[in-house]
């Protein structure tokens, strides 16, 4: 089969179009900043951004004006504070107003679950006694057909594109993930198109040597991008740590649109691609983020026949 390997530029150019819904997921880990920055650089507009926990990346994308809407459950700079750009968009319409579609964490997980398994909806025990359904008509209540009473449901979601960062994948997109696997599997299966971004491209034999570790099969993958440190300043379990200074610095940078724009000019528009971003960041800073090894113990699948 022909390889699905593309540069980030070509993957975004081919698979992310104006007006579409885009989910770049990962719960505090695996957040593919490289993909989001490329979307900004290519000037996409009118996107509906989907993400359980909009983080610095979505703050940057929204500040850059790529989005008309946001589907989410929690807005925060994790462990630091507010996402000032998103607040500015919501509270003041700067740089443009932003339509919000709001859930709780489990609610958005449930939408991914329904989408991933082609169910029309998914039930969950939440939202009773909350005002969230009153501001989001997609959150509904049905009666348990077995008589236990009402229960909340949310509808399936099918992002046009999901962008999922992983530790390693082969050229077809068969991908191993470990650590905080979050909702990466569910969002990939829910989406109509999938871009897998990997720290390393490995031979198919590496994938086949541990099939329980494969959360995303190449079958659902449209493009594979090799982008080491593509998640900086977020982290990838076993590969690099979160760059906490960047999270702290963003709190100051993002408080004004002008300083935000200057940052975007320097770190997104001012570099051609992730390689230039990393070169600008410097090897020393990356070096400090590498953890010491902590290997998983051996597992034997057995050779039969």
């Amino acid at each position: 089969m022909p390889s699905k390997l593309l540069s980030m530029h070509d993957a975004i150019a081919a698979h992310v179009h104006d007006g579409e819904s885009v989910a770049i997921e990962g719960f505090t880990a695996f957040i593919c900043f490289a993909a989001g920055h490329e979307i900004i650089r290519q000037g996409r507009r009118e996107l509906t951004l989907i993400r359980m926990t909009p983080d610095l990346l979505y703050d940057q994308m929204i500040a850059a004006g790529v989005a008309r809407g946001l589907v989410f459950a929690y807005l925060g700079n994790p462990g630091v504070g507010s996402l000032h750009c998103i607040r500015r968009a919501v509270e003041k319409g700067i740089p443009r107003p932003l339509e919000l579609e709001e859930y709780s964490h489990f609610g958005l997980v449930a939408r991914y679950l329904a989408g991933a398994s082609n169910l029309p909806f998914y039930p969950l025990r939440s939202y009773a006694g909350s005002d969230l359904p009153s501001v989001n008509p997609r959150i509904r209540t049905i009666d348990d057909p077995y008589g236990s009473g009402p229960i909340a449901v949310v509808p399936a979601i099918h992002p046009d594109v999901a962008i999922v960062h992983v530790q390693r994948a082969d050229a077809q997109g068969n991908a191993h993930l470990w650590g905080l696997v979050g909702m990466q599997k569910e969002v990939a299966f829910a989406a109509d198109r999938v871009i897998v971004v990997a720290e390393e491209i490995v031979d198919e034999a590496v994938i086949r040597a541990d099939p329980n570790r494969t959360l995303i099969p190449g079958l659902i993958v449209d493009a594979v991008v090799c982008e080491p440190y593509g998640c900086h300043p977020s982290y990838v379990q076993g590969y690099h740590d979160r760059d906490n200074d960047a999270y702290l610095e963003w709190d100051a940078i993002s408080r004004e649109q002008a300083s935000t724009d200057a940052w975007l000019d320097e770190w997104v528009f001012g570099v051609a691609d992730r390689a230039e971003y990393l070169a600008k960041l410097g090897e020393e800073r990356l070096e400090k983020l590498r953890p010491r090894p902590a290997l998983a113990g051996p597992v034997d699948y057995g050779a039969y026949g």
Binding site: T28, L75, S82, Y103, F106, E186, R242
Partner: protein, 255 residues
């Protein structure tokens, strides 16, 4: 900070930790709650296992986590699972004994607002939103609230009800079919509250050393219900302070 004095944060951590006596599982938030849960493991709840909504059961972080998705929570944990499993199989299945929650606003029945100050459509302040709080408040067997006392936070009426506490009080939770037990304690920087009355209304049960009930009432936006006897919360012990300062947070990030 000398051995005989302590900060309000240290007091909150100590009081929260003591509330975890006997708990088997706790749903942890980052920051103060994280320190409280780890302190409890060293003191009143040696069998306590930490559950993080990021998808971790039985975390043993080698450092103080920077966020609820810190990589140190995964390495060495008993289990790392998808968020679908964490919320479905652990939380919704009823395996969380105690959850720690906070918010921008709380009302007298322990309902929480983490969504907006002002109107939802055009908010004065856009807050983070629910995150997992709505389902945590719904499903955890009991909930401890950790919030600093202030009239802006302890309000007569929430601007938005994100997560259910005891709703309108009494048996309102049970009537709505909520599986978990709801708020049990509110831990602040000045006093301790519970809901141990038929109305399930927040009541002052203990003031911290040097604080009077009047001091507390001054920070609460409704006429506060008082327990029959309002006690004084014991100050942190030397050992509790040593654990916080030497073992749990030697860099002083959350004190």
């Amino acid at each position: 900070m000398t051995p005989n004095t302590y900060s309000p944060s240290e007091m909150m951590i100590v009081v929260a930790a003591r509330q975890l006596a006997g708990a088997r599982t706790v749903f942890v938030g980052v920051g103060l709650p994280n320190s409280a849960c780890n302190l409890a493991r060293y003191t009143v709840a040696p069998e306590l296992e930490l559950i993080y909504e990021a998808g971790v059961y039985g975390a043993r972080p080698a450092r103080l986590p920077l966020s609820i998705g810190d990589p140190s929570l995964v390495t060495g944990a008993l289990a790392a699972v998808s968020m679908a499993d964490l919320f479905g199989l652990y939380l919704q299945r009823g395996l969380v004994d105690v959850a720690l929650l906070g918010g921008a606003q709380i009302d007298r029945f322990g309902n929480l607002n983490t969504t907006v100050v002002g109107d939802y459509a055009s908010p004065k302040v856009r807050l983070p939103g629910s995150g997992g709080a709505c389902e945590i408040a719904t499903n955890a067997r009991s909930v401890l609230m950790i919030m600093r006392l202030s009239k802006r936070a302890f309000v007569r009426k929430l601007d938005f009800q994100t997560s259910p506490g005891h709703l309108t009080g009494g048996d309102a939770r049970a009537r709505l079919g909520l599986p978990g037990g709801g708020p049990q304690t509110v831990i602040t920087d000045k006093a301790l509250f519970d809901f141990a009355n038929p109305q399930r209304e927040m009541q002052l049960i203990e003031c911290y050393p040097g604080i009077s009930p009047a001091d507390v009432q001054a920070e609460v936006g409704w006429p506060l219900r008082m327990a029959e006897i309002v006690g004084e919360t014991p100050a942190p012990s030397a050992e509790e302070l040593r654990l916080i300062r030497e073992e749990l947070d030697p860099q002083g990030l959350y004190r």
